[in-house]
Symmetry: C2
């Protein structure tokens, strides 16, 4: 398994799992009806860099890194990770998160922040906690989960 | 004193205090060298609505309102407020914040979130607290204050 910077052509392989995750509406705060063009803008173009995790030419996951706040906040980055359903349970989120922290440091960031982790996404909360992220905020009822209704969203943070 | 929706022409009067506040770098996470065109984009164009507080044709302050997170987070709005230095201490921030909460409700939002309040901005923290906002997060050393160095940034939140 190899992680490398994404090219626009990679989006053909990213879109199926991006679409599946976003249409489910259970984890990410994207409109559930996000279309491909909007997805390219937010996943590939707006971020500072986007990476893919690839095995034998097949893309299994992807993440982006961007500056979370400009100006006086620009030493803190933000990342988002998606794993194809075919590749779940293989530790890919851990591998990508660790890779992203190395990339973040090489870009000069001093901390990483996740702005909006649905508290119902217990697997993600457990994983980020294990990887050294602290829950520094809890936004009451800030995420509308499609079946559970309003749930809290967490702000998670790691100073390098 | 009258609060109304802003027009693009109002930016001639907004820019002097926007520029003064942003160039100081003590409160807002904008690049301190933000130019007028970027300021128009982020203050007037990106938000859902922008308002000005006006007296005798003179604009004393301005605020924007926008959706803080799309999709499952789109019931929570975000606002930013700026007051001209000539109009400080007159309660304008309070007036604008109360106005913005009414606007937020009329637009269907159920909560308001401030993502990044510099903890060193004690006046703002005190004011938002007085107006019913709860400090739901503390981001360690997330804001680089020009004279105090790294200070925490707060996440403040009010469910209507």
């Amino acid at each position: 398994m190899h992680i490398r910077e994404a090219t626009l052509a990679d989006f053909d392989q990213i879109w199926p799992f991006f679409h599946e995750i976003v249409a489910a509406g259970e984890t990410y705060a994207y409109p559930r009806d996000t279309i491909r063009e909007q997805a390219i803008k937010s996943w590939m173009e707006t971020p500072r860099k986007t990476f893919v995790a690839e095995e034998n030419g097949q893309i299994l996951g992807s993440y982006y890194i961007k500056t979370n706040q400009p100006g006086g906040g620009d030493h803190v980055c933000n990342c988002g990770y998606m794993v194809s359903s075919a590749a779940r349970g293989l530790g890919l989120a851990t591998t990508m998160c660790e890779h992203s922290q190395q990339v973040a440091k090489s870009l000069g960031y001093q901390a990483m922040q996740f702005n909006f982790v649905a508290s119902s996404n217990e697997g993600a909360v457990r994983l980020w906690t294990k990887l050294g992220f602290e829950t520094v905020g809890r936004l009451p009822k800030a995420f509308l989960h499609p079946s559970r209704g309003y749930v809290d969203a967490l702000v998670m943070y790691k100073w390098f």
